[in-house]
């Protein structure tokens, strides 16, 4: 038995039956990281020794009494989620040596469940990017083809889950940063409704769009990790005070009568033919399973990308002001005066893409431009929300590709920001409207690269999309049919 092949719910079974111990599991993952990290480059920080120590301790406790159902299960955490005593770098030179003095709310929740942190996962710097190439430290590789990107910005999280280097992981999603890498790496990625998961301790990129969510091997694990991380948090006033749910209960393996809307704009120009084909097959599968499919128009979606980049950059330009070299983070060695200290620390500490977005955001908020850009973008945002509201009066789920393409070659887009931004075209409107979205694998292309399907739900209706994804997954059994090969494909 290869322990690292197992999903978390399978691990739970084995722990319960005493076939495995937490130590066995943790050790298996530590070994796997040892073996695969040189190829995949998923981690910024690994915590092998700490994890093993914790696992031993937990084993002692297990012998002497009752423990929780997640006790001793390991996890990987995206490096923009604060962990007390462990570096939180956001994959930036700016925070290369930054250690947070506190745990993010989601990390507190993991700790409460006695889940073991295996390490902090690589990402695009400050979550800005779609390929994890904008990490200051390393370029993470796609386990399905090491010459391809894992997607981003949660590329380290998705690649680590796909490569069995962690059983599951936390990512964050501002415009697709969980779903797109999940799609590229053939795993399941869920962006919860805005306000379902506390953002306290998530280093802010765009406050009105950011959400933390699970990246997992399958949908059941996704529902379980969501169970752990949701809940109202008094420290985040944008977190909604709603009743806690058990999302695994929604997984009924039945979509009969489910109304699925397919917006034709997401299948038009710019969408790769093979991606389209697989999505059409998926639609056929849903029909066979008894769902009702209908094509419709979500015309407003074409404005989403522009709206997204205005709002996200505007908020980022303000959120990243605190990285000024004064209290923590990178400070330039030499400077003449205060202005020079700011200028040099920020010029040297931030990467190109981060600076590009800060400049964009500063521009759209400037007096004289605010109305034309930021205010207009907020108005369009309202229209996007309205359109989705209308659609959800008719449909339970909206089905689209997660990304217009499969994973692309490392280096092929990193010098073309606009093309890189277009990779977000299918995912950003979900953040703009604050909706939940899940990406599940729906097949591979001719070269064996995974293709993801995105299911979008109405606000706080994670249960609906989880069940739709689960039912689909049970039918096509992606994990049984396809596995990452760690090959180096030709460019």
């Amino acid at each position: 038995m290869d322990i690292t092949e197992l999903t978390v719910h399978e691990l739970q079974e084995k722990l319960k039956n005493k076939e495995l111990t937490s130590y066995d599991i943790t050790k298996a993952y530590v070994d796997r990281i040892e073996e695969k990290e040189k190829d995949v480059q998923a981690f910024v920080t690994t915590l092998e020794n700490e994890a093993l120590e914790k696992a031993s301790k937990i084993e002692e406790e297990r012998k002497s009494g009752e423990v929780g159902i997640f006790t001793g299960i390991p996890i990987g955490i995206k490096d923009n989620i604060c962990t007390k005593g462990v570096k939180t770098t956001c994959s930036s030179k700016m925070l290369e040596n930054f250690v947070s003095p506190y745990d993010a709310t989601v990390v507190e929740k993991l700790n409460k469940e006695r889940i073991i942190n295996l390490g902090k996962l690589n990402m695009d710097e400050f979550a800005m990017g779609g390929s994890t190439e904008y990490s200051y430290f390393k370029k993470t590789r796609n386990p399905w083809d090491l010459n391809k990107v894992p997607g981003g910005s949660s590329g380290g999280s998705a690649a680590a889950v796909a490569a069995n280097m962690v059983p599951w992981a936390l990512g964050s999603d501002t415009g697709g940063s969980i779903r797109q890498p999940a799609s590229f790496c053939g795993v399941v990625g869920l962006k919860p409704t805005y306000g379902l998961v506390s953002r306290y301790g998530l280093v802010a990129f765009a406050s009105s769009l950011d959400q933390i969510g699970p990246i997992t091997k399958d949908v059941y694990d996704s529902a379980m990790l969501l169970n752990i991380i949701t809940g109202h948090d008094e420290r985040d006033t944008t977190s909604r005070n709603i009743e806690k749910k058990d999302y695994t209960k929604a997984l009924k393996n039945d979509v009969k009568g489910l109304k699925i809307g397919v917006p034709k704009e997401f299948f038009g120009e710019g969408i790769n033919e093979e991606v389209k084909e697989k999505l059409e097959e998926a639609i056929e599968t849903y029909k066979e399973l008894g769902a009702e499919i209908e094509e419709f128009s979500l015309d407003i979606a074409k404005y989403s990308l522009a709206t997204y980049y205005i709002i996200a950059c505007a908020e980022a330009s303000s959120n990243l002001g605190r990285f000024d070299g004064i209290r923590y983070g990178y400070r330039a060695k030499e400077f003449k005066d205060l202005k020079d200290l700011y200028r040099k620390s920020r010029s040297e500490g931030f990467g190109e893409e981060v600076k590009r977005r800060i400049i964009l955001g500063t521009y759209v908020l400037s007096s004289g431009y605010y109305d034309a850009y930021y205010k207009k973008a907020q108005q369009v945002r309202t229209l996007v929300m309205n359109e989705f509201n209308k659609a959800f009066q008719k449909y339970d789920v909206i089905l689209t590709p997660t990304s217009p393409t499969v994973a692309f070659d490392i280096g092929s887009k990193s010098n073309n920001p606009l093309e890189m931004y277009l990779a977000d075209i299918c995912t950003v409107s979900v953040n703009i409207a604050g909706l939940p979205g899940i990406s599940v694998p729906c097949g591979v292309d001719k070269k064996g690269m995974p293709i993801g399907m995105q299911l979008i739900g109405n606000k706080f209706e994670e249960e609906t999309i989880l069940n739709a994804a689960y039912t689909f997954e049970q039918k096509i059994k992606f994990r049984e049919n396809y596995k990452p090969t760690f090959r180096k494909g030709e460019k």
Binding site: S100, A204, S207, T237, R322, S366
Partner: protein, 478 residues
């Protein structure tokens, strides 16, 4: 042209620190004077990933201030970010309010020598204070103290309705007393919990357009404000009379030289890039909420003053002085109730206490004794335990080394001598030593009696009962 040919136009932005126990967006204490960076947490230090949570008390206090200045309270308000870089501003933005302040369109009435008038309040909004830079004490570089970062403020913006430094002074004093009365700010100016940005411009009398204004920031003493305004008016008149133009700029008032200096050049004109803070939800207030606050507002200075005129028969002038400060006013009412001698309490406050406050530049809130102790002082005179001249010394002692007046009298041995035998002894001694004065008195010079009493007081180091002395001298000299 002469200064009289110009009209002065002044508007104020007053920042008042609210006296909430905790900061505006975290639960750190707000108290003043702690060691640097001890009243801080990840939130007010702007550690990555932290989020603000609005302290509801701050909203309540601001609404109280709005209601007390006759503002309209907005039921739909929000927080905005004001972005700029400075080491005392850890997030690189200040959470403030931009286009939807909590309170708008209020007024405060003042009574300058030119007659009663209303000064418009444009708006009152909530925001967070910045930290403090310590520049001087550390050789190279500056150190940042973030204790004050996140202390709640209200900014009270007046209309440009003020026409003289006198009006500014009256407006500020009135505003200060209102904020004290409704207990939203302790208004300690020396600690910076009340400070004003003063915008001054001049225009030819009768002109419709405003002149270009200059701004003097962070003024925190009444005296400096008056001096600075007077200086600035003269300077502007001078510039214009000499054919110059007033530059719109920020000025720094230098107390020592008595001049204003330019602080920033225009190139640095800041674009604060205000936008709604996405970390905070909108502030929605119900009618009921506002009504509840309205019902708990205490008696305001104006109404107290009217009551003092009728209830205590104070003069208008005295009532104005006493009600100008809630602390003086509470001291007056408290002491009067205990000793049942409001006239005497009034006299103490108006004369000796006010004089000491002035001389020491002390704010009434810093008076180190309470109404019970002041009442005791009055009672001690009324009972003849001490003379009023001794009482003055006791009062000074109460300011300098605060303790009960009885204890002071005991320790100092200042109890009045009212024993007839002892008084007689002194009187006889003085008469024997001053035959000239005795003659004078007998010759009809009434003044000589005063001299003799004075001698007797000197002899007893002020402790003899003056009425008894008077009486006894008169008897002996019959």
């Amino acid at each position: 042209m002469a200064r009289e040919d110009y009209e002065v136009v002044i508007g104020l932005e007053v920042h008042a620190e609210l006296s909430t126990k905790t900061k505006i967006f975290c639960s750190c204490p707000t108290s003043f004077g702690a060691s640097p960076n001890t009243h801080v947490c990840p939130i007010c230090m702007a550690m990555p990933g932290t989020l603000p949570v609005l302290n509801e008390k701050v909203v309540e206090y601001a609404v109280r201030a709005g209601l007390a200045t006759e503002c309209t309270i907005s039921q739909d308000s929000k927080n905005d970010r004001k972005n700029y870089f400075y080491p005392d501003l850890p997030k690189a933005y200040q959470i403030s309010q931009y286009d939807k302040p909590l309170c708008e369109h209020g007024k405060i009435e003042i009574e300058p020598s030119t007659g009663r008038k209303a000064v418009g309040i444009t708006r009152i909004h909530i925001e967070e204070d910045a930290g403090k830079l310590n520049h001087d004490d550390f050789g190279r570089g500056s150190l940042v103290d973030l204790n004050r970062a996140g202390v709640p403020l209200i900014e009270i913006v007046s209309e440009p309705d003020l026409r003289s430094s006198e009006e500014v002074d009256l407006y500020l004093r009135k505003l200060k007393s209102i904020l004290e009365y409704i207990e939203v700010s302790d208004c300690k100016m020396q600690e910076g919990s009340l400070r004003a940005d003063v915008n001054v411009s001049i225009r030819k009398k009768g002109a419709k357009e405003f002149g270009t204004r200059t701004e003097m920031k962070n003024m925190n003493s009444f005296r400096s404000i008056t001096r600075a305004i007077e200086y600035e008016i003269d300077r502007q008149v001078d510039v214009i009379d000499n054919g110059g133009k007033i530059e719109q700029e920020t000025l720094r008032w230098d107390e020592v030289s008595g001049k204003t200096f330019s602080m920033r050049d225009k190139e640095d004109a800041q674009d604060y890039r205000y936008f709604p803070d996405p970390d905070l939800v909108a502030i929605k207030l119900s009618d009921e909420y506002i009504e509840n606050i309205k019902n708990t507002l205490p008696e305001l200075p104006e109404s107290r003053k009217q009551r003092y005129l009728t209830e205590y028969k104070l003069s208008e002038k005295d009532a104005n002085i006493i009600t100008s400060s809630k602390y003086l006013s509470d001291l007056f009412e408290g002491a009067s109730k205990i000793c049942n001698n409001p006239k005497a309490v009034n006299n103490w406050i108006i004369s000796d206490i006010s004089r000491i406050l002035n001389e020491t530049e002390m704010d009434p809130v810093e008076i180190p004794f309470d109404s019970k102790q002041l009442a005791k002082l009055v009672q001690l005179i009324d009972k003849g335990t001490i003379s009023s001249s001794i009482a003055k010394k006791v009062l000074v002692e109460m300011f300098e080394h605060p303790r009960d007046p009885e204890d002071i009298i005991d320790e100092k041995g200042w109890v009045q001598i009212s024993d007839e035998g002892a008084i007689k002894e002194v009187v006889l001694k003085v008469l024997e030593n001053n035959p000239k004065s005795v003659e004078d008195y007998k010759a009809g010079k009434e003044k000589a009696l005063g001299f003799l009493v004075g001698q007797a007081m000197k002899e007893t180091r002020g402790k003899a009962n003056p009425q008894m002395l008077n009486q006894m001298f008169k008897e002996e000299l019959k």
